[in-house]
Symmetry: C5
Subunit: 374 residues, 5 copies
Amino acid sequence: MRIRRPRSKKLKRQLQLKPPGTAPETLIADPAAPKPRITVIGYGGESSHEEREIASIDELRAFRARHPRIWVNVDGLGDADAIRHVGEFFGLHKLALEDVLSTRQRPKVDLFADHLFIVIREPMPTDGHFDTDQVSIFLGESFVVTFQERQGDCLDPVRERIRGSRGKTCSAGPDYLVYSIIDAVVDAYFPVLEAFGEKLEELEDRAVDRPNASIVHEIHATKRELLLIRRAIWPARESVGLLARGDSSLIHPETRVYMRDAYDHLVQLIDMLENYRELGSDLMDIYLSSQSHRLNEVMKVLTVIATIFMPLSFIVGIYGMNFDTNHPLNMPELHWKYGYLFVWAVILISGGGMLAWFYKRGWIGPGNWGPGRP
Amino acid sequence: MRIRRPRSKKLKRQLQLKPPGTAPETLIADPAAPKPRITVIGYGGESSHEEREIASIDELRAFRARHPRIWVNVDGLGDADAIRHVGEFFGLHKLALEDVLSTRQRPKVDLFADHLFIVIREPMPTDGHFDTDQVSIFLGESFVVTFQERQGDCLDPVRERIRGSRGKTCSAGPDYLVYSIIDAVVDAYFPVLEAFGEKLEELEDRAVDRPNASIVHEIHATKRELLLIRRAIWPARESVGLLARGDSSLIHPETRVYMRDAYDHLVQLIDMLENYRELGSDLMDIYLSSQSHRLNEVMKVLTVIATIFMPLSFIVGIYGMNFDTNHPLNMPELHWKYGYLFVWAVILISGGGMLAWFYKRGWIGPGNWGPGRP
Amino acid sequence: MRIRRPRSKKLKRQLQLKPPGTAPETLIADPAAPKPRITVIGYGGESSHEEREIASIDELRAFRARHPRIWVNVDGLGDADAIRHVGEFFGLHKLALEDVLSTRQRPKVDLFADHLFIVIREPMPTDGHFDTDQVSIFLGESFVVTFQERQGDCLDPVRERIRGSRGKTCSAGPDYLVYSIIDAVVDAYFPVLEAFGEKLEELEDRAVDRPNASIVHEIHATKRELLLIRRAIWPARESVGLLARGDSSLIHPETRVYMRDAYDHLVQLIDMLENYRELGSDLMDIYLSSQSHRLNEVMKVLTVIATIFMPLSFIVGIYGMNFDTNHPLNMPELHWKYGYLFVWAVILISGGGMLAWFYKRGWIGPGNWGPGRP
Amino acid sequence: MRIRRPRSKKLKRQLQLKPPGTAPETLIADPAAPKPRITVIGYGGESSHEEREIASIDELRAFRARHPRIWVNVDGLGDADAIRHVGEFFGLHKLALEDVLSTRQRPKVDLFADHLFIVIREPMPTDGHFDTDQVSIFLGESFVVTFQERQGDCLDPVRERIRGSRGKTCSAGPDYLVYSIIDAVVDAYFPVLEAFGEKLEELEDRAVDRPNASIVHEIHATKRELLLIRRAIWPARESVGLLARGDSSLIHPETRVYMRDAYDHLVQLIDMLENYRELGSDLMDIYLSSQSHRLNEVMKVLTVIATIFMPLSFIVGIYGMNFDTNHPLNMPELHWKYGYLFVWAVILISGGGMLAWFYKRGWIGPGNWGPGRP
Amino acid sequence: MRIRRPRSKKLKRQLQLKPPGTAPETLIADPAAPKPRITVIGYGGESSHEEREIASIDELRAFRARHPRIWVNVDGLGDADAIRHVGEFFGLHKLALEDVLSTRQRPKVDLFADHLFIVIREPMPTDGHFDTDQVSIFLGESFVVTFQERQGDCLDPVRERIRGSRGKTCSAGPDYLVYSIIDAVVDAYFPVLEAFGEKLEELEDRAVDRPNASIVHEIHATKRELLLIRRAIWPARESVGLLARGDSSLIHPETRVYMRDAYDHLVQLIDMLENYRELGSDLMDIYLSSQSHRLNEVMKVLTVIATIFMPLSFIVGIYGMNFDTNHPLNMPELHWKYGYLFVWAVILISGGGMLAWFYKRGWIGPGNWGPGRP
């Protein structure tokens, strides 16, 4: 009857690492988190693109000198020093770096003097439960830096396009790369929502056909996961809308039309999501009405049985009385020749009459008490 | 008990064709979709209008040269190349063409440099289930291009007006043609909503008179279809409002008053729709209260029967005891001359008293247990 | 059990007369609607006011020449030509005339070059059911034209004031006349809402005291009618607010303070309406809780009866067994001198104990099972 | 079971006195209302303050000449002429005077050329039921005029401050006096809401411990009264906010900070009110869940009794059969020496087994069937 | 069954101390509140920081002269004179001081000529119940004054940072100190909400597994406490947003980015809170559906028992009738050799058939009637 919920341990963990009152701009990494793995892609120059994993800031400096545009991707946030070094190298704001490490941020865009800080969340199912990971993106004049919580993301198609020098990703500026990253993250929600659509339909069938107590837990688990997605994409819509309006000079006008396209995708996601949330709420209604329907059916069975057999038991009870039949008025029926048959006639007629009455009222009959073993 | 839902396969299909991460501006057509059938109407010139089906872009070029204004209509999106060629001929934006092929767009208006891209959805019932098809409209200085998912639409009255040179459609610019198309699509929702109104009233009658488990499914199917309409017309209102305010020079001021009229129709639709959605929510209430009313009636039957026959069975049970009647205090009633009649008197009086009590409380009586077989 | 609803046939009728796709600005009248009856009132000149029914546009022309200000009222919309002639005489916009004939418009204000088009709805109960009629008002520099669906309206007090040259109606411009008309229509809603208030209180009493299935229908019919009023007065508030802000030069500044007064009345109506809608929603709660309370009471009766008589029947059943009493251990009670009295003592004590237990738990007692026959 | 509601007769009464269509600016007083009692306070001059009740406008003229600032308070609205005379003396707008007499106004601020008209509602419990009275305030350059429905208000502390020349009320202008009046009225709602808080807690306790049908009525009566307060203070917030922003030159800048303080109090009231409204909605949930809990308990009692005694009655029924025990296979138990004891053993074991099963499932046991007599 | 609620006595107490109508700007302290304890921290100068508890305003004057920036913290509001003296020393507005003493303020920011008044509420659990305390903050050019209701707050980490001269707190202006205080208060809500998350999950488990009447009280107590937090952080968001936008010159531009960070934290808190509030509402649904599921199970037990034993009791009742078996048609079965066995066969077959039917319908079987003793 019990369904195990994966308790969201993230907040608890962070409160342990960084209790309330910790000074702002303090970078504290969770030692249990994966260690950072830094990969850089240089592109946009005359030579072809270059891609490698680096270990030190010096390597990064040399790499940057060779390429007009670079994309630094950091997977894993388990080492605050490494994060700080990358941040200092690109001159990123310390408050933003603190947000990178506290991975419960909601999507947002922060405008700093010479760079943009964008937070977005990518869907990341774990052990059959839906969850989201934080993707922190910094956009500068000639660089993009992304931080992710662990290896394995939905950005491989973007990398492939750079590697293949396909699309505009290579020729356009870093703002277009940021768009490509956002677009890839946003598109990753479509299969997730499609799966929720199927889950909800299956739950609706079960709520009607095989309602049991565990379905209530499942409905609420689904609603909670939809809430989680909602928290990830509603603020993202606002943030991407901000980028599409282009308040920052780091987003070039020709990129804005693409941002608007990503914005349209987010609006479509929200449409689907709100649809599913409404269906989720309806499911409880369906379950309850199904329960109430079943109770009605159970009570009809009980009432039919009781209504038929209680009067019959009364009738046979009468002739079980021990009155002294010497007195001719005392139960003369017992001595009638056809007394027993007479009683049976009374029993069959009254029992049959009851059945007919119930049939006429539709309480019994073909297809009445639902399907068999649920 | 089970009602088959037509699973919305569109999203699933698109995710197969174009997995997340596909580069933007990639045109991928569903090979299973109908092949494009391109018809052009030239009008507005000194000669009368001309209408034909064309097969190549060259034909289109020749046609366009002959007519000051043309309307190109493409039915069927099964061939990405054909769509691309039409798009390139008119200089349409690639992101917009991508949206034409991904037919799950919500209504919107995109302003490009020299053309407008308008998405609207037309009602398209299929197999008794309501659905909407995407109508993509491009408006240029001297052309209108429309893309639809399949043949058979609600635009024939517009074509008839061009053919008959009736109304302003011929004399006014392409922006008025776009208005005529939008107006025809919007008006096509009125009969659809009228049908939903009838459906809801029928469901309300059934929810009270013949409530069964399948009605819950039907109520929710209706609510889901109303959600679908809502997704089609709410954003359309916003888009048409944008056209009526006329931010684009492609919509002439004299056309804006007509756009405002289409906007008024959309507001009327939304009014009706929200009305119906509220009625749809009330239906579950009605059904549940009807179930609860029936449960009360069933329990009253049971209680009446049990309350009458349990005491009576107890009475006859007493005189079925086998006490040794030699002792004068042991059940002397058994030897009374009128003992049996006495018991019957007790039975009739107590049974009748019960009936009277129930009648007085209104549990039994004329018209009490509802109508017959539902 | 069934309550007849007056099906809103208006939309259906209009869809028959004017199927989707009909060209805009087409005037089609419902031949079954009342024929137009045109009355004119001229006033504001040096001579006193003049009032008459006219039959032709020529008469109207002569009449207009005689009076600085005229009010033309058309009752009945059954003749499209007559409407068109009036419209052409005053130079009214064709889209507005089309709206006059399609009587499902929501309240609105349209600003045209030299006249204002105002739609408002007046309450019009028919056969005990609430409905609203459309009042279309055109305001020009020197004229007011009103179209109504049928004869009999709430504007007689306004006419009386012109006839009696009372109030400002005569001396002020046509904008004040429009205000007077709107004010009369708005005030006509107060008695309607007052009646709904009484209806809701009566329903609340019945929901508690005599809940039956038909009340659910009545509650929902009332909610639907409140929705209808809502559709009539919410957009009217917006429209009158527009007139009060005075974006049009046809509304003189001194009239705006009066429009603001009408606006205040609409806000009061909306306050009352939302109140009543909330009460209407609460009614279903009350009904359901009343049903659930009654079910509890029914089940208590059943449980009390069963709990008392089942053990008693068991006791008398014991002494109905036919054990061979020759064996001294087999039911020696049957041969006790006071056996029968002993059994009665057991019966009375256990039955009484049950009653006491139920009384202590409050299941039985004075005033417990509600009032008598509902 | 019935709880008497004080029917809001105000609207009905006004509709009788002033049927729809009455010309605007018509002053009609309810003859049944208390007759006006006019008191004036002059203050702010070199001499000390003067306070008296006056009977004629001449007296008022003389009084006004003596004092730089006066406050005229009219208690009772039963005489339209007296109201009109006061209004004409100060040059108050006729539409505003009409609003003074129609005492169902919602709080508002109307700006006229040389005076402000402010409507606010003061709490006024009558016969144990909450209601609000209208306070109409006119603010001019050198006067404040207030109209109240009857004698007895919450403004005595303000008068005391003038009498005692305490606080700023005497030294500051009439706008500060208006602030003092509004502040006193707003503060009068705090004890009212505090009382509602206690009422709601008491209802919650009763909903759980002693749920009966009358509580539903009480919950809804409370919700209705909260709606009434809501109608009085929500629009007041808006109006006072307007005064705090100071669009009118009659409110001096130094008074605005005080108006903002009154505004803060209104926001606090709204916070509390919305809190209580949410608690009120929860109460129905609590009541219904309590009902459903009790139904469960009742059904458990019934099921336990039936499950124990039905099998037992069957067992003793077996040995009540009259088979011919001459045949050795026919009920040999009846002749067993320990047959009776054997049956008792079967009865006790099966009954005890049932009890154990129910105990294990938690249906019976200590503290199970709730507290005693509710 | 009863759960004690800590009645919010604050409002009641304040109404006693300061009845409605009390003149504004009157400072009245609750004599039962803790006496003020004033501590000052001077910092920012060339010498290191200084921290001490002071007893008189003279001490404060001397202290202020020594330090460029001081932070005065007052714990306890039980002495109106002490509060007034501090206020006068720094020239704080009297209306703001009045708000300091009336500790039910909602978070707000008031801009005065030369200082800002900020109200925020800190979480303060008391006796296992959640509550909030008011923190009143005054920000001047060179001072920060804070008032708290009692000793013991969440600002120790801020003090530690000043003491250790760590972070910017020492070097930056008093606006940064205000930010640090706000940030510490905001962060103190995270552990509180985390605890609510755990509480809600525990309640959900109990609502399904061990639903009893007390859980309804607990769910509503939790919802009420969440409402309390909501009242504390929703308006705080608005206030901090105002500080981040920086309408006041007292907040330096470089501090605004920090205020925006605190704003982000508040938005995160609100996200969590709304999540929890939605879960709280779902809990009642879960409880009710769990109750309804249990009722179904109870009724199935009853129906199974009744359906099996009622027919069987009828059968054995038949053979308990006392017909005169001399007539060969009267119950010949009684004399059959295998009559008794025949009856047992009928009993076992019909009883077994019932069981099979119930098993097939899924009413009985493994894992059906839920877990054991709840």
